[in-house]
């Protein structure tokens, strides 16, 4: 379990993320941030709130709606040795700039035989649950994790958001930092209780590749990430009343992936439920099941996966609720595997 130091100071996920960025920018002149509406607005999802005041427009750069150009410019500046952070406002917009992300940012290190490296961070907002429909509600976790060459991190709370951001900026490779809108603690999009946590004032890193066991249990392993960590924990609380103890694992980073923590847990529980807010097929949930099958097939008694059932995200509330795994769905899946 993650050791969280008691500090008495609680932050929202956005404040924690911003604190890490500000710290790194103070320490290192070469860190700067580019994105749409990141300066005066402070990021549509508060990802750069108040940074303009301290660092000015030269380092907190509003850029034209030209994602290919500015994300590609981040690649170039990173290869020149700087430490740019580029924000893709919604991950759904990757379509207009994917070449710079996956053919340049992600591959230049390998294609150059390690002669160049790309120490940049691509921050992006993910997730649905507020009826923003097909072009503004995806997570696309699996898409980014699938393509080799980028590290992919998905914080689920403020403590991790800060530690993962410090680690991301200091990393010598490109890191995609996917923050869930629902967890940020934005005034106009109320977050659940969980993501606001105690956060130390000082800098700290969370190493990539360490999943966190958020709740211990013996009956079933629930592997999840992002918003659904909180839904899984809520489901687990309800199940405990009925004597079912679910272990909840928060992946935290997809690349690198902590196979060991997941496999060890399934060896103990024998039952696996994967909860993902990305599309079901050819993605994250299948990957988790495959890894468990490869390493602990004999221990695996039962599997369920919950994910977006291969439909684009619909707009109307009853439609979106039907396709985005809810707390009750998770509870039901755990009951099914423990039957």
């Amino acid at each position: 379990m993650t050791q969280q130091v008691a500090t008495g100071r609680e932050l929202t996920m956005s404040r924690a993320m911003v604190e890490a960025i500000a710290h790194e920018m103070r320490e290192n002149e070469e860190v700067f941030y580019m994105g749409e509406d990141v300066a005066d607005y402070g990021g549509i999802f508060d990802s750069t709130q108040d940074l303009l005041e301290e660092f000015g427009h030269d380092r907190i750069m509003d850029v034209p709606i030209s994602e290919t150009a500015y994300i590609g410019a981040a690649v170039g500046a990173a290869q020149a040795g700087m430490r740019p952070i580029a924000e893709l406002m919604f991950v759904d917009f990757f379509g207009v700039c994917m070449d710079q992300i996956y053919n340049q940012m992600a591959k230049n290190t390998y294609m150059s035989g390690g002669a160049v490296n790309v120490p940049m961070v691509l921050t992006t907002a993910v997730g649905g649950g507020y009826n923003d429909a097909g072009q503004h509600s995806q997570t696309l976790y699996g898409t980014f994790a699938h393509l080799p060459g980028m590290k992919v991190v998905v914080p689920s709370n403020a403590y991790d958001a800060k530690g993962l951001m410090h680690a991301a900026i200091r990393d010598d490779d490109p890191v995609v930092y996917m923050f869930h809108k629902r967890l940020m603690g934005i005034g106009w999009m109320p977050a659940p209780e969980g993501p606001k946590t105690e956060v130390p004032e000082e800098a700290y890193t969370i190493p990539f590749g360490d999943a966190a066991v958020r709740r211990e249990g013996t009956d079933a392993t629930v592997v999840t990430l992002g918003l659904h960590v909180h839904r899984a924990l809520e489901a687990a609380e309800g199940l405990a009343d009925d004597g079912i103890e679910a272990e909840v694992i928060d992946l935290r980073t997809l690349v690198p992936f902590d196979t060991e923590t997941v496999v060890e847990s399934v060896k103990k529980t024998g039952r696996l439920v994967v909860v993902d807010e990305d599309y079901r097929s050819f993605g994250l949930s299948g990957e988790v099941v495959a890894r468990v099958a490869e390493h602990a097939l004999d221990d695996l008694e039962s599997v369920q996966r919950l994910a977006i059932p291969d439909v684009p995200i619909p707009y109307a509330r009853p439609l979106e609720d039907a396709i985005n795994p809810q707390t009750a769905d998770i509870a039901e899946a755990v009951r099914t595997v423990t039957k």
């Binding site: 072009q135 503004h136 059932p309 509330r317």
Partner: protein, 373 residues
Amino acid sequence: MFLGKGEPGNAMVSVNTREEMYEAMVTARHYEERLQEEYLEGKQPAFDISAGPIPGELHLAAGHEAAAAGVCAHLRPEDTVTATHRPHHVAIAKGVDLERMTAEIFGRRTGLCKGKGGHMHLFDPDVNFACSGIIAQGSPPAVGAALAAKKRGTTDVAVSYLGEGAISQGGFLESLNLASVHDLPVVFVVEDNDWAISMPKARVTDVESGAQRAKGFDMPGVRVDYDDAVAVYEAARDAIERARAGNGPSLVEVQVHRRMGHFMGDAEGYRPTEDIERAKRLDSIERLAEDLRSEGVTDDELAEITDRAHQRVEAAIEWAKDQPEPDPDEAFDDVFVTPPRAQVVPDGGGDRGIVDAVDVPPGSDDDIGGEDR
């Protein structure tokens, strides 16, 4: 700017046409003001984007009406329009079914898109209208509609709407070139409201006018520098006639004004109060009303148009709110028009299980026996 037949502008635009534009504009304005009210229901005192009868983002176009009415007045149902994330005024001017559009915005089953699209993704093939929430990505499909018209030898045209923030996006610039090199009947209409969310124009482009983009692609580009439906009408006539005659694409930029926040819930902390006040002062609807009065249209006649427009809006909203919500299972329809034989519907471990998109007799070759595809 070419005004047609060598006559001074206003004389060329009949009072009747101006009244029609006025009605479209008043309808659009009232529509946005009423949607704002409906949207805020359930979101007060604490604003929660996911609450209330209209959830999700809502980008209203109050102050943009002249750019819609002045262009769409030249269009027929067969002509294609692609609009942006701020689409309602254009949809109204293009003749999109107001009741079904409203039902869509309220997320109802009888909406234009059965509740799947919402306010940024409205499709009405009856009048060839569509919109998209991704900046500048409506341009390539508009070029495609123009390509189809050219290949089929019709006189149909396409219009692609964009905000001034979109003029630096690849999808737009590539579309200008493709349209130009193939002489396609498409008109690009840039609505310049001075802002791209919080980013003022000067921060993100060095050109004074978006119309300058046309030069680099060897097509005509004009800018209507003030928010005047009649001036837009004239500029658009030139561009659309040129397209219909098979003489290729044009670009028209129109100065409009953003009378509301970028989206509902935008506190506009980045925007000087003076700019907000100015946008309200420079009202294209008031301007057109003045113009009509000077042509002898009485206040009573204007009020009659306004009443009719308001009633239409109220009726659409009332109808929409009466419509049923979709059933959860409908989320699984419409991924394809020819669905795969059996779709697995993992619904959270519930008992919905396999849904057969097409009835498959048990045991037949197509019966996959309840397994994943």
